[in-house]
């Protein structure tokens, strides 16, 4: 069986525009959730968000591709930035990198890739249309009674005026197709191998990584860009999460402490944006080219809680089964795991269900450190587990366990570190995700010597 390792990481998160800044924020135990500034949110009960700092998307694409940035929604931009970081970190001389470096490799240590042997598997969410763009077009077809005239949406009454729909750019739809994250990344970096877009909310990135891992193991690709990105920072996203009662509505005056995963005082999550992309590579190739190897993908497990939408699986059984499957594939027992990154939303009933799953697998006094990564970031949907995977990959590579942010009083006997820990072995990290509709994904990362 071909072995698969991680040789590059890229992230974009409230902690910063790179994986290095993400890691710095996590290691220092910072919180980057703040008062929501992207749009005026006074009508909403929760006004806290994990926002990504401003950036110029044209800085992350080759010159010839700048025009295409006009049809990138926020979610697509996040993926393009994260992929750029991952590819550079892995020193892959892809089409985009070569073009940005004046038509040659940045230096001889970079790998020239065969585009047909590179896959791309980036999880995505439900992308909301830009409200102002769509509303402006609809306003042109407004009836006197305030409703929309479908007749004038489709065809204008006056030859000199545009119909409502004609005010939208012809490529409008392409901004919002979930597979456009992978599409743009595949064009920029010329990845022609197996490609997919998994849309399983917070479990998307782990499911994508597992799938790409099988692809490399079967020999259909040698490299893959995998991960997930999403922005929930949109009036529609805030409205949906508010209606589902997922948000902490009592922390508007303490935004940095709003999201408290696995803490006894957890009171809801925070909308956020971000995500990550990882470079996965076949081990022998990675060794042969002297790549920096973060860790090995040792095992994966999947399950579905079948508990209903936005209802926690109170038994924790399905998530525990996914963890056990991953341990079995990694051929290790729970005692070989030193770090668990749980889904950790900060929503009490979901947190409690996760803790039950952890207890089922690791016993009532779990030995590994439990570090939810969401405390200082918030929930960025399909980007969530991608960020967790990057964090865990760096943790294993650096042999440092970052602290659990906003978790001073962890639930039931969990060891949630208050400070970063170094000096003890971090052999395996287990990264678990549960989507709000019950899909579970578990990935085990192994230290590689």
């Amino acid at each position: 069986m071909r072995r698969v390792v991680i040789t590059g990481v890229g992230a974009i998160s409230p902690h910063g525009l790179s994986a290095a800044e993400l890691w710095k924020g996590l290691r220092e135990g910072r919180s980057s959730t703040t008062v929501l500034t992207r749009f005026e949110s006074s009508a909403f009960p929760s006004r806290v968000a994990g926002e990504v700092a401003p950036f110029k998307i044209t800085d992350y694409v080759p010159k010839s591709y700048r025009k295409a940035t006009k049809i990138m929604s926020r979610d697509i931009e996040l993926a393009v930035v994260a992929a750029d970081g991952a590819v550079r970190d892995a020193k892959l001389a892809t089409r985009g990198i070569v073009e940005s470096s004046g038509g040659k490799k940045p230096d001889e240590s970079w790998l020239t890739v065969d585009p047909r042997r590179v896959g791309c598997n980036i999880g995505a969410g439900l992308i909301s249309a830009d409200l102002n763009e769509l509303s402006a077009a609809m306003a042109a077809a407004k009836e006197p009674d305030g409703t929309l005239s479908l007749r004038r949406w489709g065809r204008s009454d006056h030859p000199t005026e545009l119909a409502g729909m004609d005010r939208l750019t012809p490529l409008w739809l392409l901004k919002y197709l979930p597979n456009m994250l992978a599409c743009h990344v595949s064009i920029i970096h010329d990845t022609q191998g197996p490609s997919n877009t998994i849309t399983c909310q917070q479990a998307s990135a782990g499911l994508a990584l597992a799938e790409a891992c099988r692809t490399i193991q079967r020999g259909e690709a040698d490299l893959a860009l995998v991960g997930g990105c999403e922005s929930l920072i949109h009036p529609m996203g805030l409205m949906r999460w508010t209606l589902l009662n997922r948000l902490n509505i009592g922390a508007n005056d303490q935004p940095a402490k709003a999201c408290r995963p696995l803490d006894q005082a957890a009171a809801g999550t925070v909308i956020a944006e971000g995500g990550a992309v990882l470079v996965m590579e076949e081990l022998a190739q990675a060794r042969a080219r002297g790549a920096r190897i973060y860790c090995e993908i040792a095992g994966r497990g999947e399950s579905s809680s079948a508990s209903g939408v936005s209802r926690p699986d109170v038994t924790g059984e399905a998530l525990a089964v996914a963890m056990s499957k991953a341990l079995r594939e990694a051929a290790i027992g729970p005692e070989a795991v030193d770090l668990v990154v749980p889904p950790g939303y900060g929503i009490p009933e979901f947190d409690q269900a996760e803790v039950r799953a952890i207890h089922r697998v690791f016993g009532s006094q779990p030995r590994p450190a439990i570090v939810p990564m969401r405390g200082g970031i918030g929930d960025c949907g399909a980007g969530a587990q991608a960020i967790d995977l990057v964090a865990a990959a760096i943790a294993v590579a650096e042999q440092i366990i970052p602290p659990a942010v906003n978790c001073p009083q962890p639930l039931d006997g969990l060891d949630a570190p208050r400070e970063a820990r170094a000096g003890t072995a971090l052999r395996h990290a287990l990264v678990a995700a549960s989507s709000i509709s019950g899909q579970n994904s578990v990935i085990i990362l192994r230290q590689i010597g």
């Binding site: 909403f44 929309l148 197996p194 877009t197 099988r214 409205m239």
Partner: protein, 469 residues
């Protein structure tokens, strides 16, 4: 069960004469084949613009009937395209409609549940809630759909947007929008738009606790889902995968999006003739809706329970064009790569393919590029390999298209007959292959290929084979 191949519990195969006549061809694959799990198709169900009875829809397809007519789901009379392929008068089976698990489902989820229930029954699997059902391991049952996002709540969305629109500012007043939105949007209608909801509801209905996934790779999604579901079974992560897809984009914003892209046919005077794949006068695709669901099963598992194996899924290939957001690669580079990967996976050569179920959307670009890709792989045999597109009759079910086409392939293998490409009349110089024009055709069919190509350069190909041990 006509033409099906029955395998009893001792592993003895009772094969009809048509199956005996088609002894397995020697494999001439280009790489050695390690022993791996084989994946059987044991059940099928669909909800389509021609109905939802498996055999009834199949008969209509063979007769060249059209499911395309004036759009009724909303008033589309002023749109550039006024017609579509709607699922007409659909009602959920009573048990599903009455189930508290599925109270707030969207249109596509309803299609998916209905098709899955039909497929589950067709596979002879025990109904949820029965003692026999309790003997199944829920963690060995998964689902992998390629379903699209649910329809936006158009009325609430437009009312809220217009109420909050500030003409002078040229923007939505966020305070007004937020206040009204929290009062008017419906919680469940919103969350049900998430693309993974059809898969989540299948997991609930069948207590499927194995791997449950959804991919959304535009028009290739459910073909991709079937391919990846097969891989999950081969890899040993599940014994049974409920797989396929569901989608409905027949709503004002869906049609707006495709009309703005000028991808839809505007043949408003004669909707039944609007979708003309491979014809020189083709002018775009026709938006359809529906679902297709297949039960994929580890062959050994299917044999142990004495299931009828309708076909075997033997090859899958996926690729990206990595070319442009809006156009396919002009030489069909990605399509060629996906087809080659599927042949390699199946250990077959192009010469062994007896029929190609085309993506065949009816757009100028797709049909020319697909024809070119087939020629590049099939060479001199291209003209002798029949190709057809059922989108000529069903329209384009977008994410669900590939699953419905895969079911058609299984039925073609079962009955040894090829569905036609309807509305074909004027030969295109670029499309000069055998498209099975207008009439279904009897043929000896052992191995079939199904192609799906999505916006954004996503290419997926499946290869199915008539089952024999």
């Amino acid at each position: 069960m006509p033409f099906g191949i029955k395998v009893d519990e001792t592993g003895n195969v009772q094969r009809p004469s048509s199956a005996r006549a088609a002894e397995q061809k020697p494999e001439t694959g280009n790489r050695p084949r390690a022993a791996r799990r084989r994946v059987a198709i044991t059940g099928m169900g669909w909800v389509t613009p021609l109905g939802w009875d498996l055999e009834g829809v199949w008969k209509k397809l063979l007769a060249g009937e059209s499911g395309i007519a004036a759009t009724t789901l909303f008033d589309a009379r002023s749109f550039p395209t006024t017609f579509s392929a709607e699922v007409k008068n659909h009602t959920l089976p009573e048990n599903l409609a009455a189930s508290p698990k599925h109270q707030h489902i969207g249109r596509a989820t309803g299609f998916a549940l209905h098709a899955a229930q039909e497929a589950w029954r067709h596979a002879g699997l025990p109904q949820p809630g029965t003692p026999q059902y309790a003997k199944l391991d829920p963690y060995a049952i998964g689902a992998y759909l390629g379903s699209g996002e649910g329809s936006l709540d158009f009325d609430t969305f437009s009312r809220t947007a217009l109420a909050a629109w500030d003409e002078q500012a040229g923007a939505v007043n966020p305070r007004v929008w937020g206040k009204q939105a929290l009062q008017s949007f419906h919680t469940w209608r919103e969350i049900e738009q998430e693309p993974c909801m059809p898969a989540a509801h299948l997991s609930l209905e069948f207590n499927a606790r194995g791997p449950v996934l959804n991919c959304l790779t535009a028009c290739a999604a459910s073909t991709q889902a079937l391919g990846e579901a097969m891989q999950i079974i081969r890899h040993g992560d599940a014994e049974i995968m409920i797989s396929g897809g569901a989608h409905s984009m027949i709503h004002p914003f869906g049609v707006t999006g495709f009309n703005r892209l000028t991808a839809l046919s505007t043949f408003n005077d004669n909707p039944r003739r609007a979708c003309r794949p491979f014809d020189a006068t083709r002018d775009g695709f026709v938006l359809g809706e529906g679902a297709g669901v297949l039960i994929l099963e580890n062959l050994d598992h299917a044999r142990r329970r004495g299931a009828t194996v309708w076909a075997e899924i033997v090859g899958y290939g996926s690729s990206a064009d990595a070319y442009r957001v809006t156009d396919q690669h002009p030489e069909g580079r990605g399509a060629v790569a996906a087809i080659e990967a599927a042949l390699r996976d199946a250990g077959l050569t192009a010469a062994q393919i007896d029929y190609i179920n085309a993506h065949g959307t009816g757009t100028k670009e797709n049909d020319s590029t697909e024809t070119l890709a087939i020629k590049r792989i099939f060479g001199a045999r291209a003209k002798a390999t029949p190709i057809s597109s059922i989108k000529s009759m069903l329209g384009h079910l977008i994410a669900a298209a590939g699953a419905v086409e895969a079911i058609t392939c299984v039925l073609a293998l079962r009955d040894q007959i090829l569905p036609p490409t309807a509305n074909y009349s004027v030969r295109d110089v670029e499309c000069d292959l055998d498209y099975v024009p207008n009439q279904a055709r009897r043929a000896k069919v052992d191995v079939v290929m199904s192609n799906s190509f999505g916006f954004g350069g996503q290419n997926d190909t499946l290869i199915l084979r008539k089952f024999s041990l």
